[in-house]
Symmetry: C2
Subunit: 242 residues, 2 copies
DNA sequence: CGCTTTGGTGAACACCGTTAACAGTTAACG
DNA sequence: CGTTAACTGTTAACGGTGTTCACCAAAGCG
């Protein structure tokens, strides 16, 4: 088994190229026709292949979609990281606002992709090897962008967090288990970090899924106000709108 | 064309009964096998009919699902109304907590149904006759349960709402358009009502869709803390946990 | 009674995900 | 080098889906 300088044979490289071709075609169909257009046969048709040929690269239709999801997570993560590191003069608070707004912008620009990532229920989150799934790991890398930023904000200038007595022992117990993951933040601070994420998620989901149209035709101003409100809870100074 | 005492012919009554049967079968399949089990042929098989027979009652598979969604909204609304009116001694704040918790309980007990109602993007919310859709009207009746409660809380004891200057003119303009729907509440109060709903929605969606498992294995305590926090913003006195 | 409407059927179409059997190309190995 | 195995693609087929069509029996109604 002779290996080239890159450690891969020629076939391996061609195979990898085909894999990215397949995922690109799937991505194109997803953008153009929504999640329902992501058929296995449609993907094959897109690149002039027969449907069974795709089974040489993905074990099933679900596996293909899962791979696309992982790629989308990584792409979204890269977008947010670029936003976070784009302005070297921005302080942590500004970075947090940039990233939150960037997530909303991405979701609005790619509603089908966003729905694929966050809209559908996670299949079986308590299966055995679920943590090893590529899409799950990509999701964790994505979430870490927010987690890291909030943790940095905390370690730079601890924000006033609710006391353990206000949260109740049961909740404090669960939050404390995540203290290590949150770089040693106490329960109250982890609570606020979770609060940041759940509210951000809820806002964007409602807007992208059209669940807010009855109340607001343009949710942008409401989103800004909410993000500022959440930021204040993290001790960030938020400019008043206008 | 002779009409019976009820204003319907015998055929009409039998037809209506069949419609109910169809939706009941669809509901059963939904509960047992999730949203993907809601096949048109599967429903027909469930009641010993041929697939084309269903087209005498629903114009398409999508129409059938839409009818099921409307029924689910009504069922959920009835559950919440029963909770709201169940305890005659409960004040408005307690009713609000009961209804919020009832929504979470229903979502956890019927995850497939909840996903059908709130998980998938609303198809085309800006189509012409979309507001006349039965499922949309049922969704509005559902939302009105929360809207009415918050409005009653406001009119009984106005809670401290953010001033217009804090929200910005653009947002205030949009909120004021909904003032009439919210029984004359000012922009700041409508903002808090929206805040209540978006946070409640986000919390339950994340929990039911398994998007919170990485942080909390049992989101109950976190939900309670959040609901109390939101209730405080509405001037309700919330008992500390434990 | 005759006629129309209604509710059902089976056949068929086009699509889907998936598997099996097969053929051509390419890499690996004695 | 030749042989052999692995890889990559094909077509055919199975069972499934939503949907349409032509047809038929029964119910309702003048």
């Amino acid at each position: 088994m002779e290996l080239s300088a890159t450690g891969t044979t020629r076939r391996d490289r061609q195979r990898a190229a085909t894999v990215v071709e397949i995922k690109a075609a799937a991505r194109k169909l997803l953008v153009e026709g929504g999640a329902s257009a992501l058929g296995l046969r449609a993907v094959a048709r897109e690149l002039g292949l027969s449907a069974p040929a795709l089974y040489r690269y993905f074990a099933s239709h679900e596996d293909l979609i899962s791979a696309v999801i992982a790629d989308l997570y990584d792409e979204l993560t890269a977008t947010l990281v670029a936003l976070r590191d784009g302005d070297p003069d921005a302080d942590l608070g500004e970075k947090l606002f940039l990233v939150a707004g960037g997530l909303r912008d991405w979701a609005r620009a790619h509603p089908a992709e966003f729905g694929l990532l966050f809209g559908a229920p996670v299949p079986n989150p308590l299966a055995e090897g679920h943590d090893l799934t590529p899409s799950h790991q990509a999701a964790m890398r994505f979430g870490a962008v927010f987690k890291d930023l909030v943790a940095q904000v905390w370690h730079q200038q601890p924000f006033p967090a609710p006391a353990d007595e206000q949260l109740g022992p049961e909740l404090v117990e669960q939050l404390r288990q995540k203290s290590e993951y949150f770089d040693g933040m106490p329960a109250g601070a982890v609570y606020l970090a979770l609060n940041y994420w759940t509210r951000l998620y809820g806002l964007i989901c409602m807007e992208v899924f059209g669940q807010l149209h009855w109340a607001l035709e343009d949710a942008g101003a409401y989103f800004q106000a909410q993000i500022f409100e959440i930021g204040e809870a993290l001790g960030l100074d938020c400019p008043l709108p206008e």
